[in-house]
């Protein structure tokens, strides 16, 4: 199972919540909006914690997609 995290930049308000909860994964760019770090490796963050971050985002801007690894 692979998981992908994305930030919807139309919804993000740069509150910094995800960058505090999962600093390995998210950072704020020059505009102050959240981005997924380019070197991002979702497997380093426990799945349940990723869901916590997405659930806590005040603008619902974090999208998680789970996909089977099977071709």
């Amino acid at each position: 199972m692979a998981i992908t995290a994305r930030v919807d930049r139309d919804l993000c308000r740069g509150t910094g919540l995800c960058t505090v909860m999962a600093s390995d994964l998210f950072t704020l760019d020059d505009d102050g909006l959240a981005v997924v770090r380019p070197e991002y490796a979702a497997e380093t963050v426990p799945l349940s914690h990723l869901h916590d971050v997405a659930d806590c985002c005040p603008t619902g801007a974090i999208r998680l997609t789970e996909e089977d690894d099977r071709p």
């Binding site: 509150t15 910094g16 919540l17 960058t19 505090v20 102050g32 916590d52 659930d55 005040p58 619902g60």
Partner: protein, 409 residues
Amino acid sequence: MTLSHTAPPSVLFSADYYQNPYPTLAWLREHDPVHEFRFPVGDVRTWIVTRYDDVRTVLADPHYSVEGGTWGSAEFREAGLVSAAGTILERGIAVVDEPQHTRLRKLAMGAFTTRQVEQWRPTVHDLVRRTLDACALRGSFDIMDDYAGEVSAGVLGEILGLRIDRHRELVSALNDAFPSDPARMHRVPDAFNRICEYAAELVAEKRQRPADDVTSHLIEASADGDRLSQDELVGMVAALIMGGSDTVRGFIGNAVLALLDHRDQRERLLESSVSAADAVEELLRYEGALTTALFRVTTEPVTLAGAILPAGAPVIAALLSANRDPRRFTEPDRLDITRTGPRHVGFGHGLHNCIGAALARMEATIAVPALFERFPDLALATQRHQIRYIDNWAIRRLAALPVSVVPAG
């Protein structure tokens, strides 16, 4: 004005400072960005942080805890500065660290996401329209009581389920809960108890008669089989009452005054050359409802912008100052509703950023333009220099803003 190099223009948290904190905050940003001083209540050794980057650090770095009762210095705790000490609010969402904070936030966030808040838009529009009708009948009125206060109390009523007749006593309890005057410290415990009692009543009422409101939603909220306990539920409702009662009212007042002071900006807004949402973001940056975030305390000795803070140090993050930091914003003292660029920290930053921000934004985005659309000739009904801010170190709010719907003379 020439700024002295030895001391800020007015003493922090003095009467002059409350009326115009900006020269003092500018001086601190320039000369002493992590400034040690004695907090007036309890004469406690405290630090105030005024630059944008440092404010964000204090609000994001886990070495700065919101748990004053756990990490605060002895003098901080003994001065009674731990918010809501001895009540269930002491473990409320705004004053607990991880992992407890995430649990509470997850359970409550569902009621406040941008999408959830959208469904209340017609309710807010309707409330604003009715309030404007009442103001039109008066001809001259006080923005704070008759408009901003009515709208924010009405929204809390409809959306939280709060009975409107209790709103005024709650605002008075709130003012007692966060005093700026040491002589009023004895009222603090009773004020928090009154807020908790009311929240408990509201929860009991909604358990019996659930409705389509946030309190009922919180009673039902669950995540991964987890639910809020009775104490947590009451604490959450109390926290929402505290967070939502005076802040939206305060911000609408500040925004209306800013637009009365800047006719060109007001015209731009009414021409719709700028979206109301963008205008509100700039108004939040220019003068939001909070001067500071809630106290943080250091969990161990830390170095911040060259200053060394001991463990247990109370730290105040000056949001109002961060939003006027020229290191971050071009011409920060100029109101420009066409401004784009860096995010303001008017709703705080990091884990404890305002949970009700989407709702507050929606209220302001509707209420501020609607006032000027209904009353294009709205004008101050008093001299500009008679407009006063309340004496409060954390909340930036006007005491009154008398206006008239027809031009004076």
